[in-house]
């Protein structure tokens, strides 16, 4: 501050023995930024941060990159799109629509598609990226689920990811509703019908959302601000928080030689993951651009503008909403009339089930940690086979999802496979309850089978495929013993013991009360880790007994 210091040391920010003139320009810029932002401490912790490598770890990256692509293309689209429901007569360059009445929203979407150079490409990129985004989130979430990456300390990040999925679905829904074409308008009509089914407040909600009766003049503009500002704003914040937590927790890794719960093995962010992850952004973007060049998506010019008295057959929501659509389609049309009111169970129950099925996956980490009672940190991933009950739950959930998805497209299944729509509906109705149970049992059996196989491999070695004839004529298959790396990898997983209630009477003969919740926990724990649910992994003693000598097995 004072003049004396500034004259004696003109380069006050720099350390001794270094003067401003000598440092390269890049370093001087970095010094400048560090003096104001403290970037060096940040870089010290992160620049050479180690990330483990596995193909499944890039699924989250796909989501992140498609999210960035959606934002970039979305900003471009806002420059041309008019979120207005004013009715205008079309006089643009798409001949089949000449003279038609349509909303300005629909007209400006036609203009983007036919008159703005590159507009169609960006529109298709936006829509394709949105589909990849939601699909990527599903698959990424499945990866995290089946490997147990959601366990402590990552439960909160699981919830962030879950919120991103739900918000992503609704951002997608509000987005494909904006062009105000016949298909999306039908979807909005469906939504309005669903809102009406909500007991007590449904009618009011509908009036408030649509600014009066359906369709009104307001919902496009309202959906627009929700679609481009509210939801993406929240999502951007969640994405940043999600990534900060990934850095903070450090990435999980699969068991293997040199990998423990207290380290993370891999390659550094600079340069390897800068190049790989940065490059992967361009790969995703490039593939999406090529897809958008050759594959039309949402050709609203074929569908026509929305009219509430018109509809096309084969109306489907985008796939990620198809699950709720299926629930709505197969639900019996129950309505209860009482005291001048109507309870529209036929629509409201599917609406509720839709939410419950989603929430069940959000709370799963907390249920599992309650059952295991394990409050330690977990950074080593499970192989799905080593957590049979969890894996079975996951597959049951996916089965439920896909069976409902079949219901969501029951008309297309009927026409494409020449099936009776009544039969499909009944298949979905029964499958909704039976399918997940069957999937659960089958998956658990498969996991246990795979565990047995691992056990055999550890104890008896790998089947080499070489048949040897012994001197006395017997044929045997030669088994090759595994290397220590393989032995370690196959036996590194943890196995819980099922919880027990413990003695009901203490040493003084006083009876102890067991809460019903604790009883439930013990029961669940038996289901998870009881004899039926895991194959004990081979012990060193077993291994030694078999390998110490007599050779034949």
């Amino acid at each position: 501050m004072s003049t004396t210091t500034s004259t004696t040391s003109p380069s006050g920010a720099e350390g001794p023995g270094r003067s401003r003139g000598k440092a390269p320009a890049g370093e001087r810029v970095a010094d400048w930024a560090d003096g104001r932002l403290g970037i060096y401490s940040l870089a010290k912790a992160n620049m050479r941060k180690i990330f483990p490598d596995h193909w499944s770890f890039m699924l989250g990256e796909v989501c992140l990159y498609s999210f960035i692509i959606i934002i970039l293309t979305g900003v471009y689209l806002t420059l041309f799109f008019h979120p207005s429901m004013n009715e205008v007569v079309y006089h643009g360059s798409y001949v089949p629509m000449q003279g038609q009445l349509m909303s300005e929203a629909y007209k400006s979407t036609l203009d983007i598609s036919f008159d703005v150079r590159g507009g169609l490409l960006i529109r298709q990129l936006h829509h394709w990226a949105a589909l990849i985004f939601v699909a990527g989130m599903f698959v990424h979430m499945m990866r995290v689920f089946f490997t147990g990456a959601f366990r402590k300390p990552r439960e909160v990040n699981w919830l962030f990811g879950f919120l991103l999925l739900v918000l992503g679905m609704f951002t997608g829904f509000t987005g494909y509703s904006l062009p105000d074409d016949l298909l999306s308008g039908t979807g909005i009509r469906f939504t309005q019908g669903a809102v009406l089914s909500v007991p007590i407040v449904g009618t009011y909600l509908s009036m408030f959302i649509f600014g009066g009766e359906f369709p009104g003049d307001d919902f496009i503009a309202r959906f627009y601000s929700i679609h481009i500002l509210l939801l993406p704003g929240i999502m951007l914040g969640l994405v940043v928080a999600h990534l900060i937590l990934v850095f903070y927790h450090k990435h999980t890794q699969f068991a293997g030689p040199g990998k423990t719960n207290k380290n993370v093995v891999g390659m550094p962010l600079l340069p390897v993951y800068m190049a790989k992850a940065g490059g992967f952004f361009f790969l995703v973007f490039g593939v999406l651009a090529i897809v958008s060049a050759v594959a039309t998506i949402n050709p609203i010019w074929n569908i026509g503008p929305y009219r509430p008295d018109m509809v096309s057959t084969g109306a489907q929501p985008d796939w990620y909403m198809g699950f709720s659509e299926g629930l709505v389609r197969v639900m019996p049309g129950w309505e209860i009339n009482f005291w001048g009111h109507t309870l529209v169970l036929g629509v409201f129950i599917p609406l509720t089930v839709f939410g419950l099925v989603l929430v069940s996956i959000a709370v799963y980490p907390f249920i599992e940690s309650w059952v295991t009672g394990d409050k330690r940190e977990h950074h080593i991933l499970d192989r799905p086979r080593n957590a049979p009950t969890r894996t079975a739950f996951g597959v049951a959930w996916i089965t439920l999802y896909f069976i409902s998805l079949i219901g969501g497209g029951n008309d297309l299944w009927a026409t494409h496979f020449d099936l009776s729509i009544n039969a499909i509906t009944w298949f979905v109705r029964i499958g909704f309850f039976v399918g997940p149970v069957v999937a659960f049992i089958v998956t658990k059996r498969i996991c246990l089978g795979l565990q047995r196989r691992d056990r055999d491999k550890v104890l008896h070695g790998r089947e080499s495929g070489i048949i040897k004839r012994l001197p006395h004529g017997e044929f045997i298959e030669v088994h090759e013993p595994l290397s220590q790396e393989q032995l370690h990898t196959l036996t590194a997983h943890e196995q819980y013991q099922p919880a027990e209630i413990g003695p009901l009477v203490d040493e003084n003969g006083v009876e102890r009360k067991v809460k019903p919740l604790e009883k439930l926990r013990v029961k669940l724990s038996k289901g998870y880790y009881g004899e039926e649910s895991q194959i004990p992994k081979p012990t060193v003693e077993e291994y030694k007994e078999i390998t110490s000598g007599h050779g034949h097995h």
Binding site: R189, I209, V287, I290, S292, R329, V347, T425, E494
Partner: protein, 352 residues
Amino acid sequence: MSTQETPEEKLPAGQDTAHGAVRVADEKNPFADPGLPPHEPRIQDIDERAAKRSERTVALLFTLSMLATVGFIASFVTIPVDKSVYIFPIGHINALNFALGMTLGIALFTIGAGAVHWARTLMSDQETADERHPVAASPEVREKVMEDFRQGAKESVIGRRKLIRNTMFGALALVPLSGVVLLRDLGPLPGTKLRHTAWQKGKLLVNMNTNEPMRPSDIIVGSLTFAQPEGLDPHEHGYMNEIAKAALMLVRIQPENIKDKRELEWSHEGIVAYSKICTHVGCPISLYEQQTHHALCPCHQSTFDLSDGARVIFGPAGHALPQLRIGVNDEGYLEALGDFEEPVGPSFWERG
């Protein structure tokens, strides 16, 4: 939750150091962690010519990207926006969209491919280990934070001055109400809006296609005709809201085939008029099977029997379609004899 915590000794041995053993000799524990495998050099690490080849490949990919960007700009400038082109096996597609998308895609993809190839072949692939540290703070830090908090809370006197605390909670709880109240004008109250449509006694049935009033002879057995009330103009504001409720479908059924007594009463010479709006979630019903008199909603496949009071025979709809009572006026045109007697479209709480 702490009561359910399983004591440490009951949990399986941790994976901190596998099997609790650090690189124990093979004879003792064959499953012990052998530690990180030694780094195996790639061909590029030992052969400079291979490394050069990789360098050239990466450079070629980056050069391709530059060319593709030039191609993008050239396509943008030269290709007319409405030109179509035949591309095997896709068919006729918009030439500009195809050119822009392909060049942009190649420009981006080659950057990515170049960067990944660079990382895989030329950057060090030596694996190293970073230490992890527990997320939870040490007991000392925890104690310090708790102490600081207690100190801060004490200094704020919030615990002692209950009046301040309680009024503050009250104020903070009430202030968001302003925001909620502001949302009131998002829309009007429902009132009886969902109970009325544009149909009234004496309103002519106007054919949606020809925009002309209809005589009974215009409607033949087996056909499906859509109608709206006279006086509705698509160019006028508010048309969408009206047609969303008033859309009507007319079919003609031989009177002896009409099973429902009231339906026959409300029909005219076998012509019956039903709301076109599905009672499930409001899609317009548009498929009619003339032999069975079934009308099907294409959205969720609710099926209604138009010869039997439009009752639901399949699908998720909860009740029959409302029927409009029709007749003919003095000039022989079909007219409504009143509004629908029940609300059209999806059910709602106040419907009753």
